[in-house]
Symmetry: C2
Subunit: 405 residues, 2 copies
Amino acid sequence: MGIVVQKYGGSSVADTEKLMAVARRVVKTAQQGHQVVVVVSAQGKTTDLLIEKARQISKHPPKRELDMLLATGEQASIALLAMAIDSLGQPVISLTGPQGGILTDTQHTKARIRMVDGARIKEELDRGQVVIVAGFQGLTPTNDIATLGRGGSDTTAVAVAAALDAEVCEIYTDVDGVYSADPRLVPEARKLVEVDYGEMLELASLGAMVLQPRAVEVAAVYGVTIHVRSSFSQDEGTRVREVDLMEREITVTGVASDENCAKVTLVGIPNDVNTLCHIFTSLAEVGINVDMIVQAAASKRTTDLSFTVTREDLEETLNTIAEIRSDQEWEVFADDDVVKVSIVGAGMMTNPGVAARMFQALTEADIPVFVVSTSEIKVSCLVPRARHVDAVQALHRKFELHAGK
Amino acid sequence: MGIVVQKYGGSSVADTEKLMAVARRVVKTAQQGHQVVVVVSAQGKTTDLLIEKARQISKHPPKRELDMLLATGEQASIALLAMAIDSLGQPVISLTGPQGGILTDTQHTKARIRMVDGARIKEELDRGQVVIVAGFQGLTPTNDIATLGRGGSDTTAVAVAAALDAEVCEIYTDVDGVYSADPRLVPEARKLVEVDYGEMLELASLGAMVLQPRAVEVAAVYGVTIHVRSSFSQDEGTRVREVDLMEREITVTGVASDENCAKVTLVGIPNDVNTLCHIFTSLAEVGINVDMIVQAAASKRTTDLSFTVTREDLEETLNTIAEIRSDQEWEVFADDDVVKVSIVGAGMMTNPGVAARMFQALTEADIPVFVVSTSEIKVSCLVPRARHVDAVQALHRKFELHAGK
């Protein structure tokens, strides 16, 4: 039997009782003959509490020091989980991200994993131990501790699974799989048995919240099968893997939405490549991800530009833009009262009518659309926050997703 | 100006307000032109809370995992202190014990520092930064995190001061120096201006609690001057350094007492070196420190043996003894209702009447003495816990310590 990587989120290890439940599940998997690596997040609201503690001291704490502080959250949970597993008689060892060979870049608070050196993990597995690795954190080339940003534990799990050539990477969450839409918004939403990496990537990055996009990217590159399932039941969840699209009859797999976005509009900027390039380079330099981008020429000399960023990045985005703008004449507008809704499906690329049906559904429901972006497997629209639920329900109905395959 | 190492205990950094007070003191020292290294403990009761959390999961958590958990306490406080210092505009960086080059042996929960590799600390100092190092923790040769046991932060500070050839190692506590006796027991106790390493070693190891004995040992070996002072005032405290004894007129410097001891008595053990050797080797192997030892031959074939250990080690001591005893006929008695009181003074070695005066004082106060041990600079007696305060007061009076030098 092969290596199984299991990842448990913060809510799965929030207190002693839940920790013991996770410990029992881990031990059961080990007793079935698997080598088990467990990746775990900080307990419950620990990360939020630590951030709150930092904010009491400084409004803008140095990011390196914030990482030093936040990394204690996972370090505590790996130690406690190791104690729980040990108390059940199963040999076990915990490793911090740095000890586990999780090597990252130096972008503190949102570092990316560059490589996993699996030597120590393998060595400990070969001693017959369950190995617990702290999610969300790693070691920079300068021997500093960096965190991967919210949800980075998923990425840790998948990267470890890839490095160890694991059989499967099980991601345990408080939901029991990936749905055709958020069940809280659409009661008739349906659990998907399997989704393709590309679909999951769009679903995740668009706010389905079940998996971190970076984790799905890494899984796709290394062919890691992810099994998303509930830590509170034994039911099968949703498998994320390479799906043979020839066998697919359906076009749209799900409706995703992302509440964490804010729209920035620049009116009357010079219509030349240099200015645009300067804006996006400057934002990239401070680590801000720009998502949807729409450009509309207002005249030959000037143009209007809209794009979206996460709500947390809005302040820094506006500061960065302000520096570039200096004494120029263009105007800046920000609006964080928007939500992005998207339809996702790997079959979409062969079906040109999908976008049209989407606009039809939104128009029928009298929902204004601000910005549109498309990719081969999704179409996204920015709509008013107040119409969020209406939009998702209208799309779920229009594409008959409750019927399923 | 040289390097100043400052060590702040858990009560000095217990909350945001106190952290800011420490930050201001650190910045002030840096502004005077010193290069400053700060060693800091976990905030307030953090370590106790973490131990409590571990105990909820397992009565006997693996020591390696306990260290993994406890190390988060200091890691959080170095990060928070760095944020506080940064908020005052002073460049600063925090380093965990492993990052700071604190290299220990593998004895988890009571590891000893084997070496300090000061390269990273020096590098960061030379960049004009205050460097904060986590006390109480270090890196084992197997790349694991080990803690030094309670109070180990003092040792970290002194070892760092030695490695960097610092001017002084300032230890900030909630008392303002070393006293001729515990002022809570003896109201007329006097603050000492300076004490010799040897005296401090006895005072510390006998429970004066102000400094860890291991810290004083390291200071003595490397000639580090320790300045014990209060974090709540600017007053001079007590300097611990090599004191020229020729200039000393007094014999006894102080009265110390240690409540953390338990007496173990073995009755009727075989009177041969092998048995004694086996007992103490076995205790050493599980990391138990034996303190006072008294042996009294009961007959030619058997002997009685008493010794003391810390109260935490009593259970493990008795378990270890039980294994050795197996089917033999000797008996074991334990008593943790005892306290060790001692008189300490570097001048003592040239004054043979001191021990006699000590017994006289205790006899006059009608206090029974169970076990006695002597060294060149101290005499210790085990007395009933109920007579603790009486004993310390009687000795302080007898040697006229309130009068001072």
